[in-house]
């Protein structure tokens, strides 16, 4: 599945719920299901700034693709990062760097979230892109 296709899937899932309480319930479920990050990566190094809750994000390369794992002390935040990971994990750095993040607008996430959370979301995306760029540079140097 391309990034665009999985993003489309997420948007459609979100549109199924009329009520934002249900969307939050869905995010909470996603958060609870998020595979837990290896505890060795829950360090300040992996902490994303700009969130009222704490978020750790780790990236690994597996056969040319990036695999993200993450955790947060707040479960809704975990749900949001899980959603990003579902869409962006297992893609090449190139694909991630070219990804179109406008699907977030279709979900209404950025608009609905508080500025603090929206900042947090922006920080997460920035961090994901930074990882992608770093891996790309590394592979170009090989």
């Amino acid at each position: 599945m391309t990034i665009n296709e999985s993003a489309q899937g997420v948007v459609e899932e979100f549109w199924m719920f009329d009520d934002w309480m249900d969307k939050y319930a869905y995010l909470i479920e996603l958060g609870k299901d998020l595979p837990v990050i290896d505890s060795q990566f829950k360090t300040n190094n992996h902490l994303i700034s700009g969130c009222q809750s704490r978020v750790w994000l780790h990236a690994e390369e597996q056969e040319g693709q990036i695999v993200f794992t993450a955790d947060s002390d707040a479960v809704i935040t975990k749900g949001i990062v899980s959603l990003l990971i579902r869409i962006l994990s297992n893609h090449t750095p190139q694909e991630i760097l070219e990804a179109d993040f406008s699907f977030l607008e279709s979900i209404g996430l950025q608009e609905h979230l508080s500025p603090t959370r929206a900042n947090g979301l922006a920080s997460m995306i920035k961090q994901i892109q930074l990882y992608a760029r770093a891996f790309q540079l590394k592979s170009n140097q090989l």
């Binding site: 934002w20 309480m21 939050y24 319930a25 909470i28 009222q52 809750s53 002390d73 707040a74 479960v75 809704i76 935040t77 508080s114 959370r117």
Partner: protein
């Protein structure tokens, strides 16, 4: 007579708005209060009929504005029972008032001196004194807070000595709701000639404030936490201190005569009011305090206490909830944590149900850390909150916790 809360609610236009399709339940009064129509109207009236720069003008509008502005000072002086009108200095708010005093006290604090604050202070009554101590190599002594959210009075008493140049204490804690025994502390401090500043940000809208009865040397509060507009506040100071202190900011209004090489400063209160004052918001603040006086601050306190008692008893029944701050003397502030639930998640879900609460460290990081937590959820009530809002809140809380656990 029952407290006329439904009638009073009609005075507050914002209370009839909706949030995420739900009626607004505003429980973030500790951060800022909503404004009654009377206050909003006062701003409009001022700008439509009186607006002018004050004091310096010889024309009609300037006279009107000056009379209103000085009338507000007079009213506020009476409201807090100051001995003299000139002991009321208009500032931008509590933070500004405290910074005024801590900056001017640079002249009075030297290496080896001490300043006393408490562990429950808001950053605005903590960082100014901490930075003063750092720059003067003075010592910041911190009164500990006990398990129930009260001050450790025994330790406080032992800290007093002639080395102490200032004691700065909150009247009421914004996190815990504790009403501190400031009158007692002031009397003890005065035995060592220690001046005392009271941070009244959380008190002015909830309990009677009588600066002469307290005998405090300084008292600071913000208009916006007392149903008045943003942008105005008060520093009350005993004239003996205000006269002793050097000026804070320099500019128009606060001068008597200016020469290129020296300046003769104006008398109180103008000495501390540099630049064009915020006349409109000062008049709004006067109207807000007048509004409180008309209802009766005693009645408000009693009513809010009823809300607090009811909310407390309902919340004690919710499993996993731990109340933070259980002092006997407290105002209607409910800080709590829920086992296994992040405050931020809870705040987000409550917001979806129309309820505005605050989450985090409430600008009192040292206190929150001393409690061994990383934040609380805080519901803080005002005169327009109702028993049924409290019940809706607790029901919503249960629902949110169920979703999150």
């Amino acid at each position: 007579m029952a407290f006329p809360v439904n009638q009073l609610r009609n005075d507050f236009p914002i209370l009839s708005t909706q949030v995420h399709g739900k009626p607004l339940v505003y429980f973030d009064n500790g951060a800022t209060t909503q404004k009654p129509r009377q206050v909003i109207n006062r701003l409009v009236e001022y700008y439509e009929t009186e607006n002018s720069n004050v004091h310096r003008g010889a024309h009609h509008l300037s006279n009107l504005a000056t009379v209103s502005f000085e009338g507000a000072r007079n009213f506020i002086a009476q409201y807090i029972n100051a001995l003299k009108t000139e002991e009321v200095i208009f500032t931008r708010g509590t933070t500004d008032s405290i910074n005024l005093v801590s900056t001017c006290f640079q002249s009075f604090v030297h290496q080896g001196d001490e300043i006393i604050i408490s562990e429950m202070e808001h950053h605005s009554n903590l960082v100014p004194w901490q930075q003063l101590c750092l720059s003067k190599k003075a010592r910041l002594s911190v009164i500990p807070v006990l398990e129930d959210g009260t001050l450790d009075m025994e330790t406080a008493t032992q800290m007093l000595s002639p080395k102490v140049k200032m004691m700065a204490i909150s009247h009421i804690s914004n996190v815990l709701g504790t009403i501190n025994p400031v009158k007692e502390l002031i009397a003890k401090a005065h035995k060592y000639s220690i001046p005392v500043l009271i941070d009244g940000a959380q008190a002015i809208a909830h309990i009677p404030v009588d600066v002469r009865d307290l005998d405090c040397d300084f008292y600071a509060f913000s208009s916006h936490k007392a149903y008045g507009p943003m942008g105005a506040g008060v520093l009350y100071g005993k004239s003996v201190w205000l006269n002793k202190m050097p000026p804070y900011q320099f500019g128009g209004e606060m001068i008597d005569q200016v020469f290129l090489n020296e300046t003769v400063f104006n008398r109180l209160p103008y000495k501390f009011e540099a630049g064009t004052p915020n006349v409109a918001d000062v008049l709004g603040m006067e109207t807000a305090l007048h509004y409180l006086e008309t209802i009766g601050i005693d009645k408000i306190q009693k009513y809010e206490d009823k809300l607090l008692k009811h909310a407390t008893s309902l919340m004690l029944e919710v499993p996993g909830i731990k109340l933070i701050g259980t002092a006997k003397h407290k105002t209607a502030v409910l800080s709590f944590v829920v086992e296994g639930v992040h405050p931020y998640d809870l705040g987000t879900l409550l917001d979806q149900m129309g309820i505005a609460v605050r989450t985090g460290n409430h600008c009192a990081q040292p206190l929150v850390e001393s409690l061994g937590i990383n934040g609380t959820i805080r519901a803080s009530f005002g005169l327009y909150n109702t028993i049924s809002e409290v019940e809706y809140f607790v029901a919503s809380l249960k629902k949110a916790i169920a979703m999150l656990l």
